[in-house]
Structure formats: structure tokens, C-alpha cells
Amino acid sequence: MENTKTKEAGGMPAPTKKNSQLKTIGKRYLKNRLAVFGLVLFLVLIILSLGAGLFADYEADAITHNMQARLQPPGADHLFGTDRYGRDVFARVLFGGRISLLVGTLTILISLAGGSLIGAAAGYYGGKVDNILMRIMDVFLAIPSILLAISIVAALGNGMMNLMIALSVSSVPRFARIVRSSILTVKGQDFVEAARAYGCRNRKIILYHILPNAIGPIIVQATLSMANTILMISSLSFVGLGLPSSIPEWGSMLSEAKEFMRYDPYLIAFPGIAIVLAVMAFNLIGDGLRDALDPKLRN
């Protein structure tokens, strides 16, 4: 390549060696301390929950009832105390992370993909396509998302896969709306017309020229949905449609602990903190990604 490091007086910063787009974005991301912190936090949570077996035994500590040791405060034996059935809260938080993080992350990714597709098509093509797609989305939006998820799980049956499908479907309309509106703001700009003038196909225009410019609000929405999704899992479990209540999962631990909030607040604190940390990690990652993807904010 012909990139020599030349620097003219008073001019632009000299071009650095051209990296692949991905590398540049990665570099920019790593420069953002908070974003790196978010990523590290997220990785720690993932590692802890995947490596939960090293600290505790799933069957013995997180599932089996042990009524002699119920409601013990945090201490040497039980780092986070025990719940009303004598299960170790520390073990349950660790194992619970597997489901909360996995289902949460996958749900976000699926609904992001689906919502982007629908929203982009509606926003870009406009007219009839827009009307048809968005009216369908409106129908979904009209139903409270929790009810929608409940009816989908009820129809498909219990199970983690169905749970994810239900949660994704119920959050797709929100994504579609946001993607559509950000597409609309970008679509009218001249560079889109220029791309059409040199023969770009619609799909490439949407993916290459429009979506990257509309990514900001989409990422924000995705990170905000994370907390929502984790809590939705627990709501579904609560009505008996998510996962069996014995399976540890942050949201359901939280709702179970409600009754003990007054005298055993640690029960609600630990899963709560876990959710907060996960959501925070997600938000920081989201913000970092948004900034890293925007060339205007580099350095």
C-alpha cells in the first residue's frame, strides 16, 4: 500500500497505516476506559457463572432444600446466606447467571436482528411496505409485552428456547420502531442518493450506507432492554410459564425474596446487585460501542 507517513505543516494528522475497519473500531473501543471496564465486568460475570461449578455444587447447593439451614445470614459457611429453603444464595446467584445472561443476551441479539430488518425495510422502502409492516408491529405493541410473551410461551410450551422466542418477539416491535425512525433521518441525505446514482442495490445501501449511520439509538435501546428482559424472565417464571422456580435465575430469586425484604434483606440484595452489574456492564459496552463506531468521536 502507498501510505507513507507524511506530515504537512499545519495540516491534518498524518494517516496511520490503514487497518481493517474492525481493527480501528476495536482500537477506539479499547481507548474508552469505561467501555473497557464494562467489557471486563461482563466477562467476569460470564466467567463466574460458567465456572460456578468450581465454587459450588449445582445439585447440592443450589437445588436441594436444606431446611435446617434456612434463612441464614451471610457468613463463612454461606457467603451470601441461604434462602427460605436453605439453598445457598451464592451458588444460586452464580448458577443463575447462566440463564439470566444467556437468555438476556441472546434475546437482545435476536430482537435486535429482527427489529433492524423490519424497521430498516419499513423506513427505507416507505409507502405500502412501511404501512403494512408498521401496522403489524402496532398490533404487537398494543398488547403489553408481558402478556404477549405469556401467550406465546403458553402456545409453544415451556422451555428455554420458547422463552427466548417469546421474549424476542415481544421486544421486536420496539426495536423496529426505533430502527425505522433512525433510518428515516439518514435516508434523505445526499450520500444515499449518490450511492443510488452509482448503482448500489437497495440491500447494500441499507446495510452499508444507512444502518451504520443510524446505529446510535439502536444500541442504546438494546442495552436498555437488557434489564427489562432479565426481569421479564422472572415474571414469566412467576406465573409458571418460564422456567421451574427451583432453577436458579436472578429475576425469580428477586421476586421470591420480596417477602423477606424486611428481616433478611440480603436475599434481595445479592441477585439485585447481580442484575445491576450485568445491566451496567451492558450499558457501558453499548455506550462504548456506539462511540467506537462513530468516526467523529475518535481519539
Binding site: 490503514k18 450520500f191 449518490a194
Partner: protein, 318 residues
């Protein structure tokens, strides 16, 4: 006379609005010879930009023909049109919205080349990008810069380079200099004229700036509310403007002279009348100082009043 590279016949574009058809481009017949420039002037909203986009089929016309090298572009299907797009390019007015802020300069110039598969090798493309940047007077140290890091003039040069990347024969220049400082305007105009000479480019040059259009055009078309009211070779138009609207436009050019005779200025009063479902007849009549009863009611055809000088007006030559 040489055969024109681009011709339009009865080219028409109506936008449907709630109140009726908005006549943005109404029955435009133009023809441009290879290597020449047709300037299109008129006030804001007269349909100049729409005309440019309709010719490139970025907006579909309502009726008429667009003959490029004798072929009617409007009869081509999407695939065939894709092949044609290499020949027809556009340069935009706003150097800020015309470049994708997420792409670097090299990506912006590369994309048309990649899209049309003109070159495939990475090194070849890179070489071509550098060559194009030099052609438009940009230092190749900007190759990895992003548009927001460059000033308006440089950004506009990128826009020109992107248009040139496909070796087009015909370029629609949609007010390419109106968003720039006067000093930069001159640079870009000179660049465009040099390029025209070197590559035998044909321009449709849209502007509202009479001095710019005088500088660059061989022929000028004056538009008013979607219609062509006067078309003429450049010098002829400036020496002998015949349509009252053209006269008004010309007299509005500011002249930096203190003791200037102010009597001869024809300032146009009033607002543009609605372009929705206009009545037949001269659309300028409502604002025209010479309006007569025969101005309205019937379509006033363009008539030849001099060599290559067509005017749509009932007034006799004065």
C-alpha cells in the same frame, strides 16, 4: 451541429399532493452536445434539482423521454439502468450531507468502483483512488481521513472524485458550488472546467447563481415553475435576455459599482404562484411587469427569436 449526447423530450414530473399535481418539471425539452455545459438557472423551488434527478432516474419521471446517446433511459429495466449508471453521475450541493460520515475518503471513492466491479485487485483500486484524488487536487495524505475532518472545499473535491471514479460521460452538477466560499467556488469551478476539457465531460449545471453559470456554461436554460421560459447560448442570453423573468434575474446580479444607474433594475415583486395544478399560459404573468391579457389562457410555446435562442413569451422582441 453535432449530435447531442443527452436529450429530453417532453420530460415531465408531477408530484401528487393532496391538492392536486405539483408540476415540478413540466414538458422540458433540452439537448446537450458532448463536451458542453448546459446551465440551468431559476429560483429556489423552480424544479431545477428535480430535473437533474429525473434525468438520472433517481426520481422516476411522469412522462417524456430521456435520450442518452440515442437510447431512452426510461425504457430500461432496473438491471440495464444499473449498467448505465456508470455513464451518468451527479455532484451534490451540500458537501456535508453528500458524503457518508462513517466512511473514510478512500472508502467513499472506492465504493463506486467496487459496486460496478471496474477494478478488483486491492492494490489496483488503491492506486486508482490515489490517482483520482490527485486528479481533483487532493493530497493523498487524506486517504484515511473522514469527511468531518476536511473543509467544505476538500469535501466537495471528494464528491467530484467519487463522481469521476466511474469515468462517466455526463454529470449532473446540482449547485456544486453554492455551499462554498467564493474563493473555493472559483477553485472548484476551475477544477470542473479542467476536467471537462481533459475528459470531454458533459455537464448539466444547475445553479441559481447567474455569475457562476455565465462562467461555466455554453448554453443556458432559464426555468420558472417547472417550465423552460428561455434557452439560449450563454453570451446571447446575457446580451439580449428576452423573457421578462430572465431580465429580472440578470438585473438582480449585484454589481459592485457606486454610481450605477439604478433605473434599469427589474425587481420582481410578489411570490411564486402555486405550482399545484397551474393554469395554462405564462406562469410568470402574475409577477410580470409587462403582463397582458393574452399571457393567460393558452399555452405559450417556445419560439425561436435568434440562432438557438428560444423564448416562451408573447411579447415582441424589444
Amino acid at each position: 451541429m453535432a449530435t447531442p449526447i443527452l436529450e429530453t423530450r417532453n420530460l415531465t414530473k408531477y408530484f401528487k399532493t393532496a391538492r392536486g399535481n405539483l408540476h415540478a418539471v413540466d414538458d422540458i425539452n433540452l439537448s446537450i452536445e458532448k463536451g458542453k455545459t448546459l446551465g440551468v438557472v431559476g429560483e429556489s423551488g423552480c424544479g431545477k434539482s428535480t430535473l437533474g434527478r429525473v434525468i438520472l432516474r433517481l426520481i422516476e419521471a411522469t412522462g417524456g423521454e430521456i435520450l442518452f446517446e440515442g437510447k431512452d433511459l426510461r425504457t430500461l429495466n432496473a438491471r440495464q439502468m444499473e449498467g448505465m449508471r456508470q455513464q451518468l453521475q451527479i455532484i451534490f450541493q451540500d458537501p456535508f450531507s453528500s458524503l457518508n460520515p462513517r466512511l473514510s475518503v478512500s472508502e467513499i471513492i472506492t465504493d463506486p468502483i467496487r459496486t460496478n466491479k471496474l477494478l478488483t485487485g486491492k492494490a489496483e483500486i488503491q492506486e486508482r483512488v490515489v490517482e483520482l484524488m490527485h486528479t481533483v487536487g487532493l493530497s493523498d495524505r487524506f486517504i484515511n481521513a473522514y469527511p468531518h475532518e476536511l473543509d467544505g472545499g476538500r469535501r466537495q473535491r471528494i464528491g467530484v472524485a467519487r463522481a469521476l471514479a466511474l469515468n462517466p460521460k455526463f454529470i449532473v452538477c446540482d449547485e456544486p458550488v453554492s455551499a462554498l466560499d467564493v474563493s473555493i467556488q472559483a477553485q472548484i469551478l476551475n477544477l470542473m472546467m479542467d476536467l471537462q476539457e481533459q475528459r470531454e465531460l458533459t455537464y448539466l449545471f444547475i445553479t441559481h447563481d447567474m455569475s457562476v453559470v455565465k462562467h461555466i456554461s455554453n448554453q443556458i436554460m432559464v426555468m420558472y415553475m417547472g417550465q423552460c421560459v428561455e434557452v439560449s447560448p450563454t453570451e446571447e442570453l446575457f446580451e439580449q435576455p428576452m423573457h421578462p423573468y430572465t431580465q429580472a434575474l440578470l438585473s438582480a446580479i449585484p454589481v459592485p459599482k457606486l454610481q450605477r444607474d439604478r433605473k434599469r433594475r427589474h425587481l420582481v415583486r410578489g411570490e411564486v404562484t402555486s405550482p399545484v395544478n397551474p393554469l395554462p399560459g405564462c406562469r410568470f404573468a402574475a409577477r410580470c411587469p409587462h403582463a397582458r391579457p393574452e399571457c393567460t389562457g393558452e399555452v405559450i410555446p417556445l419560439t425561436e427569436r435568434g440562432p438557438g435562442h428560444f423564448v416562451s413569451c408573447v411579447l415582441p422582441v424589444r
